[in-house]
């Protein structure tokens, strides 16, 4: 295997006394879409926060392109190509739709222009003067993903982008993620919906009680779908 884009080695993390991540190791290669599945409280969001530099791991290392970024502050990680699509979508209410898009500085040549975003997401152009949070849930999700594309992120950290969306919108988010992958962007996706996950991702890490319990490929996910759904409590 070529050296991975993202490599996580032995990461521990806690909130106060409670240990949330235990010795988590995983790798994501350039161009892959990899999901993190697991129950609520399994540590998925905490892991993304550690990767983004919003939570400090108590042990372990995070490397991007072979460079140790474990102690890099969040704003400098974006300059290395990390883009966060947070679980609450992270849209600023005090910024218009267009300002939400323009807030992050462009970090690479692959950064989309605002016009290109509007071409791909015409609804955002229509509502560009609206306050960010006046959009519907699905539109906010599009804005959140479009924002990191405009920044030119190479590795998207997407936290449950389909949560709370109707099947039509889930399908649309799936299309967007497949387009993103086709454009060569790498995605680490937190997802409870394993059926959806297997339609966009290459591989899956199952997180349980803060540990990587298993790694699965799409065939295994399809084979064990019922068991997984039951385990995840969906």
């Amino acid at each position: 295997m070529v050296s991975p884009l993202l490599s996580v080695q032995g990461v521990n993390a806690s909130y106060g006394e409670a240990q949330v991540l235990r010795d988590v190791s995983l790798e994501v290669a350039t161009g892959e879409v990899v999901t993190l599945v697991g129950r609520n409280g399994a540590g998925k969001t905490t892991l993304l926060r550690c990767l983004m530099g919003l939570h400090r791991p108590t042990a372990g290392t995070v490397t991007l392109d072979g460079n140790d970024i474990t102690h890099l502050p969040a704003h400098r990680r974006t300059r290395r190509g990390l883009g966060l699509v947070p679980d609450d979508r992270g849209i600023f209410a005090s910024l218009s739709v267009e300002e939400n898009l323009k807030l992050p500085p462009g970090v690479s040549d692959s950064a989309w222009s605002v016009d290109r975003v509007y071409e791909s997401f015409p609804v955002l152009k229509e509502r560009r003067r609206f306050p960010g949070t006046k959009l519907s849930g699905g539109e906010q999700q599009m804005l959140s993903i479009a924002r990191v594309l405009r920044m030119g992120a190479r590795l998207l950290l997407c936290d449950e982008p389909t949560e709370g969306l109707s099947p039509v919108l889930v399908h649309q988010i799936g299309d967007i993620l497949r387009d993103v992958k086709a454009a060569g962007v790498t995605v680490l996706l937190v997802e409870q919906n394993v059926r959806f996950a297997s339609t966009v991702a290459d591989r899956h890490y199952l997180l349980a009680q803060g540990r990587v319990a298993q790694t699965l490929d799409n065939a295994e996910v399809k084979e064990r779908e019922h068991e997984l759904l039951e385990y995840l409590g969906i």
Binding site: M52, T78, G90, F92, A93, S94, P104
Partner: protein, 290 residues
């Protein structure tokens, strides 16, 4: 009728002090999560700055209006760098206590030198007397304070609403952590924003000097009311704090006419009602994040 107008006008003038103070408090609170109790002290220091410059060096009001806010803004930035920043990661109470302690120190230092007696500050030449605004005569200085405060509020609003720096400050005021994840070095903006908030407090202090007597406790009386203004406007809401500032000024002035003795209390009654009805304040947004 004309009496009522006059009261409403006085209310707006008082409201312009609340608006400038609340604006600074709101930006500082939003971006740092710090309830800056020393805001009232910097208002007082602004007035004293003008007073001392005039009496020790003969510096005019107009120069003081420029120099004092700038100088105290720099003091504010140093304060943030040297003290406030060290406590930001801890319980918010630590910074509340720090700024409360600083307030007591500033007050007592000035009391040692100038005593507690209010000191007069002359109205600037050219703004003595009254202006006729059609309906009746208004004191010229008060008209100036109102116009100037509105211009400063509008200027601050344009800066925040129309520039990239303003966009970053709005984002960082709303959600500092998310703003960092969007590639913005929020830490770089904290000192300037703190200094900007302090400069606004000092500016309103200089403006207040010719209207209210200068005394070490002039800020302490005001700050509690301004806290109520910020809460009513919506914690961290920039527009809300300015609007609530003018609104409360009016309410207080009209309260003085109709229910004298309850005017200040009515502000806190309004605060309680607003909190029950809209916990995030009149212009605040309900928290969406957990």
């Amino acid at each position: 009728m004309s009496d009522l107008l006059q009261h409403a006008f006085n209310g707006l003038v008082n409201g312009s002090f609340y608006a400038l103070l609340a604006l600074g408090l709101a930006v500082i609170f939003g971006m740092l999560g710090v309830v800056n109790f020393a805001h009232g002290a910097f208002f007082m220091l602004g007035a004293f700055g003008a007073f001392i410059l005039l009496n020790e060096a003969g510096v005019s009001f107009w120069i003081a209006l420029l120099v004092v806010p700038l100088a105290l803004g720099v003091v504010g930035m140093l304060l943030e760098r040297l003290l406030v920043r060290r406590l930001v990661a801890l319980d918010p109470l630590y910074n509340f206590l720090l700024t409360f302690g600083l307030t007591l120190i500033f007050q007592d230092l000035l009391r040692m030198k100038y005593g507690s007696q209010p000191q007069p500050y002359p109205q600037p030449a050219g703004l003595r007397g009254t202006v006729d605004l059609g309906l009746f005569d208004f004191p010229a200085y008060q008209v100036f304070v109102l116009v100037f405060s509105v211009l400063v509020s509008v200027g601050a609003w344009l800066l925040l609403a129309r520039t990239r720096v303003g966009m970053i400050i709005r984002a960082a005021t709303e959600r500092p952590e998310l703003t960092r994840a969007m590639g913005i070095d929020v830490g770089r903006w904290i000192s300037p924003v703190f200094g900007f908030g302090i400069a606004l407090a000092a500016l309103s202090g200089v403006l207040a000097a010719p209207m209210r007597a200068v005394s070490p406790l002039m800020g302490a009386d005001l700050i509690i009311l301004v806290f109520a203004v910020v809460v009513i406007g919506g914690l961290g809401s920039i527009f809300g704090s300015v609007a609530a500032g003018f609104l409360i000024g009016m309410l207080q002035a009209l309260g003085n006419v109709y229910v004298p003795g309850l005017a200040t209390t009515s502000v806190f009654i309004l605060m309680a009602v607003v909190l029950l009805w809209r916990p995030a304040g009149l212009f605040g947004r309900e928290e969406t994040a957990v």
